[in-house]
């Protein structure tokens, strides 16, 4: 989905602010949210999609682990384990007023899909190949121009752009289906190199390149245009 999370190439965020001798966690609650998310993790793609659906204003102002909390709340709700109302009620019972926070916008697509009974802890997302790769290393390809209304790992900034396949990685779990509990549907994964001038025009920096890992259905041959 074309959400706020898809940040590549966006302008207006200013300088990169670094911090010397930064701790892993700035607040106690950040470590708790991190650990709860890791321990309850059974589908990273689905968790990422929950984070992507956080209200854009909150996404930018919540900081990283605030976004994780939002994503975790949404995922737990959609998996039928704990609702956001239960969390708010629990807070009210302890005298803390609910600020009406909505962790993430519910997705119509997601809400109809249920967590499979036999879903297991996440293992390696690499899968044995069952298909021949459609593209070869050295081939010039184009990223498809269209996005998806669900989860996808095709960022907007490479769509419709030409690049060269520089590596082929075999088959991997396809996040676009797995995030929606629609199965792994493994497909071929490639690293594709895009020149800076192809992506941004030639008026920007010279001699820059972006290499990005893209699934087979994100790509097309040049003559398919």
């Amino acid at each position: 989905m074309d959400g706020i999370h898809d940040l590549g190439g966006k302008a207006g965020f200013g300088k990169v602010e670094t911090e010397k001798d930064e701790p892993y966690f700035h607040e106690y609650w950040e470590s708790r949210v991190f650990s709860m998310t890791i321990n309850l993790g059974d589908n990273t793609d689905r968790f990422r999609h929950a984070v992507e659906r956080i209200d854009p204003i909150s996404y930018l102002s919540d900081t990283y682990y605030g976004r994780w909390l939002g994503g975790l709340e949404t995922k737990l709700g959609e998996d039928g384990l704990i609702t956001q109302e239960e969390i708010s009620e629990h807070m009210l019972a302890n005298g803390i007023s609910d600020e009406g926070r909505v962790a993430a916008r519910p997705s119509e697509r997601i809400s109809k899909e249920k967590k499979p009974q036999n879903s297991e802890q996440r293992d390696n997302a690499s899968r044995p190949a069952s298909t021949e790769p459609r593209f070869y290393v050295g081939q010039t390809v184009k990223a498809v121009p269209t996005g998806s209304d669900g989860h996808t790992r095709l960022p907007a900034y490479v769509r419709g752009k030409k690049g060269e396949i520089v590596a082929q990685h075999g088959e991997w779990v396809f996040p676009d289906s797995h995030a929606h509990w629609l199965g792994e549907m493994p497909q071929q994964l490639y690293t594709v190199a895009f020149s800076g001038s192809e992506l941004w025009g030639s008026h920007l920096e010279e001699e820059t390149e972006v290499r990005i890992d893209l699934f087979e259905t994100y790509l097309m041959e040049l003559q398919d245009e």
């Binding site: 990169v16 990283y64 920096e205």
Partner: protein
Amino acid sequence: MSNSYVGLRAEALESLLIEKGLIQIDQIDQTISLYNERVGPMNGARVVAKAWKDPEYKKRLVEDGTGAIEEFGFVGGQIDKLVVVENSESVHNVVVCTLCSCYPWAILGLPPRWYKDPAYRSRVVKEPRKVLEEMGTTLPKDKTVRVWDSSAEIRYMVLPEMPRDWSDLSESDLAERVSRDSMIGVELLGLDRSA
């Protein structure tokens, strides 16, 4: 800030999860200890130092990063496939994740805040030279800057160039000098950064 709304909400969620038996408090504590104590950039630094000292190892590391780090037996932060990209006279590598904040936890630990913030994620794919310069690293114009956007489950680590005057140091001394930022690709080693 521990009384912040989000902090209190996290606390409420934790109580509910424990009440419902979905998670144990020990589990939560243990994971935090693991990431605070045993998973961090000191792991990647050992890998880099070994590669600098042992050309055979370096060859294996660049060809098959996943296999080459197995012998270290790092615990936590599983990496499905590790690709190590080597800096050279002609190419400088830098790593980002524009869509979320994918990062090679097992060898670099949890990422710094700037890596997860919108400024770095939005800009480094578009104007990497400028971003690096602002962060203290100026690259020659004729050196290719290669930005790796970690969009799938493959994780990337930069193998920095060893400063020439470090060649007499032992592997363990070298490991102490390899910085986290040099393995993300936003720092060149051997420059006096206090200047």
